[in-house]
């Protein structure tokens, strides 16, 4: 490595004398990088909590009888898992952690446009999270993360209001993050950084932000009306009072389907960065990948009804939604093909982030294709609300978002901390996660087509073998998630000094020191070339430099 010690000044260091000062300097920081670290800690905490709930669910499902816990506890466990994972992990994960850290760095800005708003987002996220936790501690909530009415508004006697308040507050955190990114990307780009020189991660985050500001408020008001109905017994969704429960589903999925793209689009952005860097090549079809992000963001708003094919929605609406769902599959396919084509004639190295990226492609392809199964109306009638759906969205969200999140964390870890993690353990963990993941969720496709409904506490005994396989895979998966926690933690003290650009990547974030100084760049950079500006002979040179014993 080029340097032997961490830079003298960086965003992590400060000269607080007392512990209180140090704590204040973090909790009152307006530095986007520090806020990203705050998010990183909080989000990983919630991930572990959601994972714990998932463990309870999977362990319960080893046997067909409901013997480990009562159905009430089981329902609370899977609801906790859903609420935490969706609202407090998947939606903020990549934008709030990696996006917060990288957006200003990648566009050569000193900070986000509204740094204090950014800190407010984090506090809103934490307050929302605390509400959700309080709800979980004092009795939990048993509606499922979808809060379907009239069950949530009238029949459930769990802490629905508290949980919804948490989700509502967190929604504003998400809106403010999106708003901040939009303005930052529009107004704060370094001189010379035109739209088509932007890294694809920025495009993806921009598309995500649009969804966040357009869709989240609709969820907010839909949930607010559930609370109103629940507290005052007035009916807006309750058919007993003239309302229509399907209106809730429409409003809910108007947000919650695009929310899926809030989760996957930034992940796709990360993958574009990884594939290009570790192939030492310009990304294939830059414009197509960039515009496919925007296309997904827009088309993603027109397909929410495919969650409602059996809900007694009209046949006509079902057909329209199904048709547009087919269309939204295309931009995702375009991305996958372009990533694959990027590999051709590259100089590929199997570093940990690349392993995650390759894993992402494999799993996302399966997730995406099974999405088509679910988008086809006739097949959906059979498989919706079964484990087929469960398997599908875990392939997209765990196989997609979490793989990209982990890949991104590893890729930018040296930039965030200035130190390298252990590459061997990184590779091993990536493989464990890949294997464990497939073992957990592939059997669920079979279970789903067999007709095993989701959210079942007890189930017919003939499904047991597949459930046991799934639980076995889940335990492998859990180990895979714990290993990185350990070696990344160790790297904070013992990791090799990374230097400014350990991967030899392009991109503005690699042009500053690791970890970067508080205002990112000593001088505002002036951009003269596009992202991924690898010269044509970069791959050849990289391969020529390879000697036995160099990293794979």
């Amino acid at each position: 490595m080029s340097t032997l010690s961490l830079p003298q000044t960086s965003y992590i260091r400060d000269n607080s004398r007392t512990f209180t000062d140090w704590l204040k300097s973090w909790l009152l920081t307006v530095d986007h990088k520090r806020i990203a670290i705050l998010y990183l800690l909080a989000i990983n905490f919630f991930f572990l909590l959601g994972g714990l709930a998932a463990t309870l669910v999977r362990v319960e499902l080893i046997t067909p009888q409901g013997d480990l816990m009562s159905s009430d506890v089981y329902n609370r466990a899977f609801t906790l898992h859903g609420v935490i994972m969706v609202f407090f992990f998947l939606i903020p994960s990549i934008p709030a952690v990696l996006g917060n850290f990288l957006v200003p760095l990648m566009i050569g800005a000193r900070d986000l446009a509204f740094p204090r708003l950014n800190l407010l987002s984090w506090y809103l996220y934490m307050i929302g999270g605390i509400f959700a936790l309080i709800a979980a501690v004092f009795g939990g909530v048993d509606t499922g993360w979808t809060f379907y009415t009239p069950f949530s508004s009238t029949y459930s006697n769990s802490n629905v209001v508290m949980t919804i308040t948490g989700a509502f507050i967190m929604g504003f955190s998400s809106i403010l993050t999106g708003l901040n990114f939009i303005v930052t990307i529009h107004k704060m780009r370094a001189p010379g950084l035109t739209w088509f020189r932007l890294p694809l991660f920025i495009w993806a985050n921009y598309a995500t932000s649009i969804i966040q500001i357009l869709a989240t408020p609709v969820l907010g008001i839909a949930l607010l009306l559930v609370v109103v109905e629940r507290l005052w017994g007035v009916g807006i969704y309750d058919p007993a009072l003239g309302g229509d429960p399907l209106l809730f589903q429409h409003l809910f999925w108007f947000y919650s389907h695009p929310a899926v793209y809030i989760m996957i689009l930034p992940a796709m952005g990360v993958i574009s960065e990884l594939i290009s860097t570790f192939s030492r090549k310009r990304i294939f079809g830059y414009e197509f990948i960039a515009f496919s992000s925007i296309a997904i963001a827009i088309l993603g708003f027109l397909v929410w009804g495919h969650h409602m094919f059996v809900s007694s929605q009209s046949v006509y609406a079902g057909l329209v939604f199904s048709f547009i769902t087919m269309l939204v599959a295309i931009p995702s396919a375009i991305k996958v093909f372009n990533w694959t084509a990027t590999l051709y004639k590259g100089s590929i190295s199997y570093r940990t982030p690349m392993l995650y990226a390759l894993g992402f492609i494999g799993l996302f392809v399966i997730g995406g294709l099974t999405g088509i199964f679910l988008g086809v109306t006739a097949v959906d009638l059979h498989v919706t609300d079964t484990y087929f759906v469960v398997a599908h969205f875990h392939y997209v969200m765990v196989g997609g978002t979490i793989m990209a999140y982990l890949g991104g964390i590893h890729f930018w870890w040296p930039k965030m901390t200035g130190r390298m993690y252990n590459e061997t353990w990184g590779g091993i963990a990536a493989l464990i996660i890949f294997v464990g993941f497939n073992m957990t969720f592939f059997p669920q496709f079979i279970l789903g087509y067999l007709g095993m409904p989701r959210r079942y506490h007890v189930y017919p005994p003939e499904f047991q073998i597949l459930h046991v396989m799934s639980t076995a895979g889940a335990s492998i998966l859990a180990i895979g998630f714990i290993v990185p926690l350990i070696y990344l933690g160790i790297s904070l003290r013992k990791g090799a000094i990374a230097g400014d650009n350990p991967w030899g990547a392009t991109g503005l974030e690699w042009k500053t020191s690791s970890p970067p100084p508080t205002f990112n760049f000593d001088k505002t950079p002036i951009v003269t070339e596009e992202a991924y500006a690898y010269p044509p002979e970069a791959a050849e040179r990289d391969a020529a430099a390879w000697r036995p014993g160099s990293p794979l």
Partner: protein
């Protein structure tokens, strides 16, 4: 533009109001405006959910809508519309005054806006209390407070267990059973629920808007603005206008048609 102005503008770029992350005041101002607009987009979508429910239920219960709208206090709402439109003008003039660096006019306009905003809330509050007074059995809010003239309530338009839509306005004026049905479900209660949700949410925005305006007023009095820096006035104004726009739709949708 004269060189001297140029220099002044330049000194201002390093003035206290330019935040560290921006290069120029123009950049900061454009960022603030775009940011405010992005926020207004979310506000519009927030109300969009209520409007969606309104459209669906209006389509489902057209008669209930017609009958219910007749029971709202249209004259008061008309006054409120005028109040809000005037306040929109004063806000626009306040921005204009800030742009031209006329502090006196700016302060006057802001004070006027706040007064108009309060007027709106007072009228709205009276309208609400009328409905609540009817539920309590009083003829109007004053007799409700004084506790005089209480009798069995013949109408209660506040959604909830006590909701009671007066039979003489119901579609089935003949059948006593029908009036009961109208009380329990059908569109009447939904209408008033949406009415209270939408105008209530609007009133909350109004209160926030008043807070924003007061802050700007304090800043204006303390000479924080100049012709080169008046972004808070401008984006605060945007927010105020949005509140106005939402009322522009709420007014005809609930009180007129």
């Amino acid at each position: 533009m004269a060189t001297i102005t140029h220099e002044e503008a330049h000194t201002h770029t390093h003035g206290p109001e330019l935040q560290h992350q921006f290069e120029t005041p123009e950049q900061q101002k454009e960022a603030a405006t775009l940011g405010m607009w992005a926020f207004l987009v979310t506000e519009i979508m927030l109300f969009g959910g209520i409007f969606m429910a309104y459209i669906a239920y209006r389509w489902a219960f057209p008669e209930a809508w017609e009958e219910s709208a007749a029971l709202l206090n249209t004259p008061l709402a008309t006054v409120n519309t005028v109040v809000l439109l005037v306040s929109s003008l004063t806000v626009a003039l306040a921005v204009n005054a800030a742009e031209e660096g006329k502090k006196r006019r700016l302060v006057t306009m802001l004070v006027l806006t706040i007064v108009l905003g309060l007027t709106f809330l007072v009228i709205k509050g009276y309208e609400y209390s009328e409905k609540f007074a009817h539920c309590a059995g009083a003829k109007d809010p004053i007799s409700w407070i004084t506790g005089s003239d209480l009798h069995e309530s013949h109408e209660c338009l506040v959604p909830g267990r006590g909701f009671h839509f007066p039979a003489e306005h119901g579609s089935a004026s003949g059948g006593h059973g029908a009036a009961k049905t109208a009380t329990m479900q059908s569109g009447h209660q939904l209408f008033f629920l949406l009415y209270f949700s939408a105008t209530g949410l609007h009133a909350i925005h109004m209160i926030i808007g008043l807070g924003v305006m007061t802050t700007i007023l304090v800043m204006a009095v303390r000479d924080r603005f100049s012709p080169t820096y008046f972004t808070p006035v401008e984006i605060g104004g945007l927010y105020w206008h949005l509140i106005d726009i939402i009322w522009v739709f709420l007014f005809p949708l609930f009180y007129l048609v």
